[in-house]
Each structure stands twice: as structure tokens, then as C-alpha cells.
């Protein structure tokens, strides 16, 4: 999933200082699952904003809503009418969610409440780990299912640098050297041979990336009859 964290409260307050009708909009997929911008966090943020505005003596109307996915047009379209009653939308979605909202609700400003961090998973309760850089050229088949592009500080694909100490990354003692994890996994899988030889350096993709799926387009045309 996409992992994000809420921006510092002062920054959010500052973004909203000129608005009196605000819709705090949560996202029910990644943001809800990483416990950063789902229904519960919408309630808490709205409450904090109301309290802050009241303390400062200002008027404000703050609405709360959470939709299934901010990055999906059909969910965004469902709230178009409700959104039009507000001056501004404060999105608790990821960067893609904010942009999809801004595109489809294009007469209302959409502001980000979150800093989107990475694609990852929870490594343990309360700890999230980056696992995928969406590099578009997956090599997990030869690294024991552990990604050095996302999990090595230098994204090295031919093996580790010489900087690890006691199995820890030179950049942070809290981070295991991913190449040692890969070595251990491949040893266990009896696949150390996959580490030998030199492959091509990565071909970095041009941003923004696009994906055109002819099968989906055809499908729609057929259904549309």
C-alpha cells in the first residue's frame, strides 16, 4: 500500500487560514489501512481544526467525509455535489488522491493534509517499511523477493557497498543491510547462483509514466456496445 503521514498541524492550519468552509476528506483504502487518513483520522483532524479556530476566535464550518478511494473517478464523482458546498477540500489521501480530486472538482481548491512517503507495508505494529520504488523493471526474482532498489540506501543492484557494520547500513544503524538479507534469503532458498554475473544497469523511466491497456479499452467498447 501507499504509506503517508499527516503533515505538521501548524502547516495544515496555515494552508487553511483564509477558509471558513472546509471539507476534510479521508481515503478508505491505503490511507485508512496505514492508519493515517481514514475515517478515524478525519474525525481527529476536523476536531483539532475546530478547536484551534475556536481558540483563535474565528468562525469555521468543517465537514467530514471519507470515500472508498480518492484516486478513483467513480468515488470522487459521488461527492461532487457535497463538495461544492465548501470553499476548500483538505484531502487526507495520498498525492495521487489529491490530484485526482483537484482534477475532477476543478472549481474548488484541494489541499494536501498528508506527506506521501512510499509504497510499503507494516513491518510490525506501528512500523512501516518502504518496499517498492515502482521502478518499472522488477528484479525480485533474482534477489530472493527482497528489493535492493527500494531497501538499499544507494539502490545498488549488483551487491552491497563496503559500508555496512554488523549487518547494518552505513546510513542508519536502524536499517539492516538489505544485501545481507538477500544473501541470507538466497542461501536458504539454495539460489546463491542468482547473485553471480552482471546484468544491464537499470533503465530509468521517464516521468510521468503511463500505462495504456488496450485490453481494458476494448472491453469498455464491447460493453458499451
Amino acid at each position: 500500500m501507499i504509506i503517508a503521514e499527516i503533515k505538521p498541524f501548524e502547516e495544515i492550519k496555515d494552508m487553511l487560514k483564509n477558509y471558513k468552509r472546509i471539507l476534510v476528506l479521508g481515503c478508505g483504502t491505503c490511507m485508512a489501512i496505514c492508519l493515517s487518513g481514514g475515517k478515524k483520522q478525519v474525525e481527529l483532524l476536523a476536531l483539532a481544526l475546530r478547536t484551534a479556530r475556536r481558540t483563535e476566535g474565528g468562525e469555521v464550518t468543517i465537514g467530514e467525509k471519507t470515500i472508498g478511494r480518492q484516486c478513483e473517478p467513480k468515488f470522487v464523482d459521488q461527492i461532487k455535489d457535497e463538495a461544492s458546498q465548501y470553499e476548500v477540500i483538505l484531502s487526507m489521501g495520498c498525492g495521487a488522491g489529491v490530484q485526482e480530486l483537484a482534477e475532477r472538482l476543478n472549481s474548488i481548491p484541494v489541499l494536501p493534509a498528508m506527506n506521501t512517503l512510499f509504497i510499503g507495508a507494516a513491518s510490525e505494529e506501528g512500523n512501516f517499511l518502504e518496499m517498492c520504488r515502482a521502478c518499472g523493471d522488477c528484479i525480485l526474482w533474482r534477489t530472493g523477493g527482497i528489493c535492493p532498489v527500494a531497501r538499499c540506501a544507494k539502490s545498488l543492484i549488483y551487491g552491497p557497498c563496503g559500508g555496512s557494520q554488523n549487518g547494518r547500513c552505513e546510513v542508519s544503524k536502524d536499517t539492516p543491510c538489505v544485501w545481507q538479507q538477500i544473501y541470507a534469503r538466497l542461501t536458504k532458498l539454495n539460489q546463491i547462483h542468482l547473485l553471480m554475473g552482471i546484468s544491464q544497469p537499470k533503465a530509468w523511466h521517464i516521468h510521468p509514466q503511463r500505462l495504456a491497456r488496450e485490453d481494458l479499452k476494448l472491453n469498455k467498447e464491447t460493453k458499451g456496445g
Binding site: 545498488l156 553471480m196 544497469p201
Partner: protein, 291 residues
């Protein structure tokens, strides 16, 4: 005789390392270089060592070349993408630089501009591949060069990698570096000759010359600091005690380095001396080691 010829002659090789200053004051660096000229086969010039912004390696290598010293250009992948790396290699070649040491490089987070974007478009292995291509007259994209290079490429290895996985991965990567064209290796600083001998036995079959790393110890404190903070460096307790008990730190440091060099003479093809500010003491180390 240049470094490449010295290596091919089979003599015991001596290289030293100097680090460009932060700024444009190069008098002291050139003075140090002049002092060790003729006593070493080549001088490595570091590339923004420890990720600290400094004067560049290509410029300093060129200045050494002008003084009749054969430089080894250290090139890291930290700050340049494949376009800049290849272009800088061509620049180095036309400035008379003939030896290149390929390194991945420290992460910028360890240096004095920790917010810099880490590049690492290539790494030490793929950079060696690129050097080989430039030597063949083509660039990484396969386009013909108008004038090829003929670099003598080298690489580094860390024999003191501290876990089994780290050590085995060093060996695997060393093989890749040889496959990619490395013609010599310089190692991280060595203080334990028994461990070094085990490493040498392990890689004997690779048939690629190795220059054992010597870091001059300046104090017991420095030894303890390196043990804690420098990957692959381990100074054994008796050496730390020797530095602690001595009344003349310089003399003891020189004597330790000379002993290590003597020990390496039967193990590998040369030594690489990292004096870290004590460059002026290198001639005394060599003299003490009987070189």
C-alpha cells in the same frame, strides 16, 4: 615507469592516497605530493571523500601529472549519472590521467551536504564496464567515440567485512569487478595480518594483483574510533595499547605501519598507504619497511 608498467613488471607496488582540500589552497597538497614523488608508483586522489564537498579529483590528478606523478583517479558513482561519469572519464583521459579506481562512494547522508540527492545511477561494477567500453572506443549507449581511452581500471575490496554475509558478498562482488575489467584491487585498511592472509588465500584463484591497505594510526583514540565507526577496519587491542603506551606517537605509528607492510610483502602484490594528513611521514614509513 607508470603504475601500469610497474604492476606488470611484478615489483612490489607502493601507492599512496591524498585528499584534495576544501577550497582552492593546494600548495600543501602539492608539497606533500612532491615529497613522496619517486618513492611511490602512483598516488590516488580521492573523490569528495566521506561525501564532503571539496576540490575535484580530476583537477588534482591533472596537477600531479604535470609534476611527473602517475595519478590514480578515484571515481565514485555518488554524484554523477552515466552521462557525467562518461564525460568526466573522457576529460580525465585528455588531461593525461591513465588510471581509474572505480568506487560506489559513501552515501551523501554521511557528509556535509546530507540533503543532497544521491545519484548512484551506476555502481562500482557497472562503472568498470563503462570504462572497458570507453577503452574499446564506444560509449555506454554503443555509439562510436571519436578517439578512445586506454584506462587502467582498478577497484576496491573490503577484506574485513564483519559478518559472514557481508564477507561472502564482498567476494562475489570482487568476482563481478574482475569480470567487468578490474585489473588491480586496493583494500580497506588492514591491521590483522592473520585475517588478511585468510582473505588472500580465499581470492588467490582470482589472479588479480592486490594492494593491501595501510592506514597510519595517529593515536589510540583514532584506532578506537575506527573500530567503532569505519566499516571493515579492526585495530586489535595490542596495537591500540602500543599507541596508548608510547611517548612518541609518530615513531610508534611509523613502526606499526612498517611492520604491517613487511608482513604484506609475502602475501600480496603491494601496499596502498592512506596517511590521512600525515602524508609527509610516508617516506619514513617506507624507509622503516625497507622499501
Amino acid at each position: 615507469m607508470g603504475f601500469r608498467e610497474a604492476l606488470q613488471s611484478g615489483k612490489f607496488l607502493i601507492t599512496a592516497e591524498i585528499g584534495p582540500p576544501k577550497g582552492t589552497a593546494i600548495d600543501e597538497l602539492l608539497e606533500d605530493a612532491e615529497l613522496i614523488k619517486g618513492k611511490v608508483d602512483a598516488i590516488n586522489v580521492t573523490d569528495l571523500q566521506s561525501s564532503v564537498m571539496r576540490l575535484g579529483s580530476v583537477a588534482v590528478c591533472h596537477l600531479l601529472k604535470d609534476k611527473g606523478i602517475d595519478p590514480i583517479l578515484q571515481m565514485t558513482c555518488r554524484d554523477r549519472n552515466r552521462l557525467a561519469l562518461q564525460s568526466d572519464l573522457l576529460s580525465a583521459w585528455v588531461l593525461g590521467i591513465r588510471n581509474v579506481l572505480s568506487l560506489t562512494g559513501d552515501h551523501p547522508a554521511l557528509g556535509d551536504h546530507p540533503q543532497a540527492m544521491p545519484v548512484f545511477d551506476l555502481d562500482s561494477v557497472s562503472l568498470l564496464n563503462v570504462i572497458r567500453k570507453l577503452n574499446e572506443g564506444v560509449d555506454m549507449a554503443g555509439s562510436q567515440l571519436k578517439g578512445a581511452t586506454d584506462f587502467f581500471p582498478g577497484a576496491v575490496v573490503n577484506p574485513g567485512a564483519d559478518t559472514e554475509a557481508a564477507f561472502e558478498m564482498q567476494i562475489i562482488k570482487m568476482e563481478k569487478k574482475i569480470e567487468a575489467g578490474a585489473r588491480f584491487f586496493q583494500t580497506q585498511g588492514i591491521y590483522d595480518l592473520n585475517l588478511f592472509e585468510k582473505f588472500i588465500k580465499r581470492v588467490e584463484g582470482f589472479k588479480t594483483p592486490i594492494l593491501g591497505g595501510i592506514i597510519l594510526l595517529k593515536s589510540a583514540g583514532m584506532a578506537r574510533f575506527m573500530n567503532k565507526n569505519v566499516a571493515g577496519v579492526f585495530v586489535p587491542d595490542p596495537l591500540i595499547k602500543e599507541m596508548e603506551d608510547t611517548k612518541d606517537k609518530v615513531k610508534t605509528s611509523i613502526s606499526i605501519a612498517a611492520r604491517l607492510i613487511k608482513g604484506m610483502k609475502d602475501l600480496c602484490q603491494g601496499v596502498h598507504i592512506m596517511a590521512i594528513g600525515w602524508e609527509k611521514k610516508i617516506p619514513m614509513v617506507l624507509e622503516d619497511a625497507g622499501l
